[in-house]
């Protein structure tokens, strides 16, 4: 309880700058990568036209997200951005679920992970916007609807990154803090796993879905 804000960090001195690595988040992210690779290999081991067990699950998830992307972005958009959206969702889903396993904690609990994912989505959206509309039309958008609104529009775009990352971070870290405090205060065997199921599985799924949907929508707003 006392080490509520503590994080194991590795500080490396390089060219006079201090590089700080948050060890737990990095290790947990590698574990998530491992799970995703394992799941991917299992799903595509024997690709048959009539799907087998793991292939069905894989096709279901991928199909759903391609459908979602296609609804917002039309066919070519779905071809281009579908894989990224699908991997974003699977990564976040597994990251949020990792807390269920004892002694492991979610990589999204560290602010750096959601912030990185948010920045990635932001960069992809704006790059897509510039490529499809040209730089002039893209920069003219910032001066709509009144000329002096430019700084406010820029701040608004930055605020989008902040909101999307902090929403994921706040929900996941908040859930883990609540579980920690409740486990510290009660000696119940039933309550912490129930809370874990609610905050970890339910809230984690919804937040991963919302993050992905918002990224798709931001891309579609820029492309339009």
């Amino acid at each position: 309880m006392e080490n509520l804000g503590q994080v194991h960090q590795l500080v490396v001195s390089l060219f006079g700058f201090n590089l700080v690595f948050n060890l737990e988040a990095i290790l947990m992210t590698w574990i998530v990568f491992g799970f995703l690779l394992f799941f991917g290999i299992l799903t595509t081991r024997k690709r048959d036209f009539v799907p087998q067990k793991f292939q069905i699950v894989g096709e279901m998830i991928v199909g759903q997200f391609y459908q979602l992307t296609e609804d917002a972005l039309d066919r070519e958009g779905a071809e281009k951005y579908g894989p990224m959206i699908c991997s974003l969702f699977l990564f976040m889903l597994l990251s949020n679920w990792l807390g269920i396993i004892p002694h492991l904690e979610e990589p999204t609990k560290d602010l750096n992970t959601p912030l990185a994912l948010g920045l990635m989505g932001f960069v992809v959206a704006h790059y897509a916007g510039i490529k499809s509309k040209g730089f002039k039309a893209y920069s003219r958008e910032y001066f709509q609807p009144m000329f002096f609104m430019m700084p406010l529009n820029v701040i608004g775009e930055m605020a989008k990154i902040v909101s999307i990352s902090f929403r994921l971070f706040g929900n996941i870290m908040g859930g883990s803090i609540i579980i920690l405090v409740v486990s510290h205060l009660t000696y119940s065997l039933l309550l912490p796993p129930l809370l874990n199921a609610f905050f970890g599985l339910f809230v984690g799924t919804i937040q991963a879905f919302v993050f992905t949907m918002l990224t798709v929508v931001y891309i579609s707003v820029q492309i339009k």
Binding site: M1, E2, L4, G5, L68, D71, A72, L152, I155, G156, A159, K160, V162, S163, F166, R167, G170, N171, M173, G174, G175, I177, I178, V181, L185, F202, V203, I206, F209, V210, M213, L214, V217, S220, V221, K224
Partner: protein
């Protein structure tokens, strides 16, 4: 006044404010649910058993924000938390204020999906289970701002602030509580409006259920942005170490930052919720243009959030520049 007395005083007042304010929202929300359930039963008495069950489930979810407030109040009264000194008094008071205000909006908001789900089941008993699921998802998501307030309250209670200088950190801690607590009011209420509209729309057009749920989730997520800004300002106020000050302007600046972001989050949260409500309602009636509707909803919500962004900018200026 010696620190121990001051701490106990602040804890007791904080606990009172916490459960006092926290009880308001959930009671009104549950009352709305029950009222709509009564109307529903009068329209379709044959399925009154299902309606009754649905009403109880909806009310239970709306209750959760007040239960959080009750838990925080009891913790404030009886649990001996780490840290000592007069600064702990400020932290405990901030915790009480945070959870107290934060529970109002979510409690009010979660009443809407419950009530609309009851009316919807009376109208269309066949989609009963879909409506109950949607009600649960919508209510749970609109409880998120109350969860943010509870997180801030727990952090204020259990983190040790005694190494920080008393002046101006006492104002920073109370400001942290106000910031998330007040900003959660609007977002909770707005999220609940969107969830209520989604339950009503699924009952009217059951085939549009998937699109409606998606639009509701996206709209609620954006409506929660002002409370996320409040959470951000709270975190900055809690974790930043301020140099010791002897004048009054430094603590007042920090307290004012908390007030600014707190009140600033109320209006945009409610407004964004109204936008999401309108969009969800019309996505169900005009499902081919769901994409256009979601786009206009997001644009409208983004512009309506601008005053929350102004408030956040003023708060950050107060913290970092002054």
């Amino acid at each position: 006044m010696d620190p121990v007395t001051l701490t106990k005083l602040a804890a007791n007042v904080g606990a009172g404010l916490c459960i006092g304010f926290g009880a308001i929202g959930a009671a009104i929300g549950e009352g709305y649910t029950a009222a709509q359930a009564n109307i529903a039963v009068s329209r379709n008495p044959r399925i009154s058993g299902d309606l009754f069950k649905n009403m109880l489930v909806g009310q239970a979810v709306a209750e959760s924000a007040s239960i959080f407030a009750l838990v925080i109040a009891i913790l404030l009264l009886f649990v001996d938390t780490p840290g000592m000194g007069q600064i702990k008094a400020a932290a405990l008071f901030g915790a009480g204020v945070s959870m107290g205000f934060g529970a109002i909006g979510s409690g009010l908001g979660s009443g809407f999906p419950g009530g609309q789900a009851c009316l919807g089941i009376a109208r269309q008993p066949a989609v009963g289970s879909r409506l109950t699921t949607n009600m649960l998802i919508g209510s749970a998501v609109s409880q998120t701002p109350a969860i943010f307030s509870m997180v801030v309250a727990l952090m204020l209670m259990f983190m040790d602030f005694s190494i920080q200088p008393l002046q101006p950190t006492w104002a920073a801690l109370i400001g942290a509580g106000l910031s998330t607590g007040l900003a959660a009011i609007g977002s909770g209420y707005g999220g609940g409006l969107a969830a209520g509209a989604s339950c009503e729309s699924i009952a009217r057009q059951p085939k549009s259920a998937g699109q409606v749920t998606t639009t509701m989730l996206v709209g609620q997520a954006v409506a929660q942005t002002p409370s996320i800004f409040g959470l951000l300002v709270s975190f900055i106020l809690m974790f930043k170490s301020f140099p010791a000050a002897t004048n009054w302007s430094a603590p007042m600046a920090l307290l004012s930052a908390g007030i600014c972001m707190g009140f600033g989050g109320i209006g945009p949260g409610i407004g964004n919720g109204m936008t999401a409500e309108g969009a969800v309602r019309w996505v169900a009636r005009n499902i081919e243009h769901a994409g256009d509707l979601m786009r206009i909803m997001l644009v409208g919500q983004a512009v309506a959030q601008s005053t929350a962004i102004y408030a956040m900018v003023v708060s950050l200026v107060l913290i970092f520049v002054i």
